[in-house]
Symmetry: C2
Subunit: 338 residues, 2 copies
DNA sequence: TTGTAGGCGTTATCAG
DNA sequence: CTGATAACGCCTACAA
């Protein structure tokens, strides 16, 4: 930077200012500095900047999985919001482990991040403590609930699951089952929502609930459907904890010559792209993942800039997308009509 | 750190050493320092460390997409290799834009990264220049080719596509088509491989090639199949540039009552999880994405540690996974037999 | 609008 | 094995 300053005939601090806040230096100097920077190929040292200013341009992002499409979408939104800013995202992958989450938070915090984006509301006590003492804005995403550490944007998975289950029941299915994998906090809440709706309709039967701690895959959806039909052969619909399971359940139905939706209804969760493209297309609960990621980062940026965030607790909602896989009575284009 | 030093009755530099290279301080001092660190809740300042040591613990990762499952797998491998080390990954998403790639490289380079992991061999001249002058180890991933900037791990997409296409031809299909989306460099090479194999068999017909610059989705696979059948109704098989397109093509066949594999063969690429779970299961070319990510980071770590990398140019290969969707003549369990 | 002085927390260097 | 000293490159605070 000293070299640039010499080349541009100004002091180092002026170079610094010309780079960070071009408005406050004279246009003439601004140009001279810019030229010198280009000529010398100067690149600012971010470590020095961070040390001197006691802050960084890093926003830490803590998610449980990088391969899960749901979080990939969240990331896309987060990156798109961050790209327009001078802030960079740093990813941490907890692989659904509270211990790993705590370790990651420590790593992030030791960098004095400008902000933090963390997944869910169910941090372990130690992690919660770290978050509460962190002196940067924090957004929790994915879930909507009562006591966020700081800011919050998400949805009620319980309510969403209630809506989906109710839809299956209203579509005429009577032995409505639940398939769940991983059983992370959000899955647990969806199971609660399922139970709520089934109980209200007088259709709750614990034998219709099949879960596993394994990670969701399409193949697993088929396996779980198999397990369900083994223990409850009269099941006539499933609410799947996510679209991967739903797709797997659909394939398994095809394999077993079970007609969807006439003999068997299938509802997924998240409304990933393949749900709409499948045959028959799969009913699902749409969640706004990219928007969540984007808005979460925007909330952070607003707070970082010093402005207050008007709505720091956002219920982003969900939307039931009705498709062929739950049209029990309508003459939909399905296996049946092949 | 000064506080820790006082608490432990040693000098600051000893604390520094006790933390970074515990072996070179006396066991007694090591314990005293550790206690003091715990007692005071000391957390090292990474910015200061980076400034003083002129290096960082950051490995920059440049990929074209975060939502593409292929790169999600690469990331998983990269993270798993990095987690065992003191190095952290920093992600950059080019969204398939060379300009964005160059910008990202500049950002990374200004942090003096410990290493760089970049996707592909087709960087723009400006980016290539940046990479060549970077003073850190670099691994290019995904493709195998001749002149890597530094290290390389990948596969020949052209050869993989040749193998897949040949498989379709050998399975008895005669009007074998190609569906491609995005048309990034790797897709282009797969198209070349397709042309190679079709030409050798005397079956090349440009009307059997349907491509689009749009990003791949399952739904798009159905659209492309529709476009193909409109312009070449006698097509009897497709090699799809990836499994999303293949899945979409399969659904579209079901929708149109085209029997897979008897009337129509489908082969995908990458062997993502749903390919195996689909009904009929989809033949695909397996690529070793997680291994690529993991090994790439391991190569970087080796070089960072100062050791030489014995094999700095790795062809990780591929594997054709034959499944039901290309069993033209065998009595497979398919729509047909429903 | 620009410049001066000083220090951010750590590590390299060299000495003991 | 341990310690004193001097940077690392930039920014904050204050002054002109």
């Amino acid at each position: 930077m000293t070299d640039v300053a010499r080349e541009a005939n100004v002091s180092a601090i002026t170079v610094s200012r010309a780079l960070r806040q071009p408005d406050i230096v004279s246009p003439e100097v601004r140009v001279r500095v810019k030229d010198a920077v280009d000529r010398l190929g100067y690149v600012p040292d971010l470590a020095a900047r961070a040390l001197a200013s006691a802050r960084t341009d890093i926003i830490g992002v803590v998610i449980p999985s990088v391969t899960n499409n749901v979080f990939a979408d969240v990331l896309r939104g987060a990156y798109s919001a961050a790209e327009a800013s001078p802030f960079r995202l740093q990813l941490g992958n907890t692989r659904y482990s509270p211990i790993e989450e705590e370790r990651l938070l420590r790593v992030f915090l030791s960098q004095k991040p400008a902000g933090l984006l963390v997944t869910g509301l169910d941090q372990a006590a130690a992690s919660l403590g770290l978050l509460k003492t962190a002196d940067c804005p924090i957004v929790q995403i994915m879930e909507y609930g009562d006591s966020p550490v700081d800011m919050l944007i998400g949805l009620s998975h319980r309510e969403a699951a209630r809506t989906a289950t109710r839809h299956l029941i209203e579509s005429g299915y009577r032995r409505v089952a639940f398939l769940g994998a991983r059983m992370d906090p959000r899955t647990q809440r969806r199971l609660e929502g399922f139970r709520d709706a089934a109980r209200v309709a007088g259709l709750l039967d614990e034998r219709l609930i099949v879960t596993t701690p394994q990670a969701s895959t399409v193949g697993l959806g088929g396996d779980l459907l198999g397990a369900l039909l083994a223990q409850a052969p009269d099941a006539d619909a499933v609410f799947c904890n996510n679209d991967d399971l739903a797709l797997g359940a659909l394939f398994e139905c095809q394999r077993r010559r079970i007609s969807v939706p006439h003999e068997f209804g299938i509802c997924g969760f998240n409304d990933l792209e393949p749900a709409a493209a499948a045959f028959p297309s799969i009913t699902s609960v749409r969640t706004f993942r990219e928007a969540m990621g984007r808005q979460a980062v925007e909330m952070l940026l607003t707070r970082i800039s010093g402005a207050p965030v008007v709505n720091a607790k956002i219920d982003i909602g969900f939307e039931l997308i009705r498709r062929e896989s739950t049209r029990r009575f309508e003459p939909a284009v399905t296996q049946e009509s092949l």
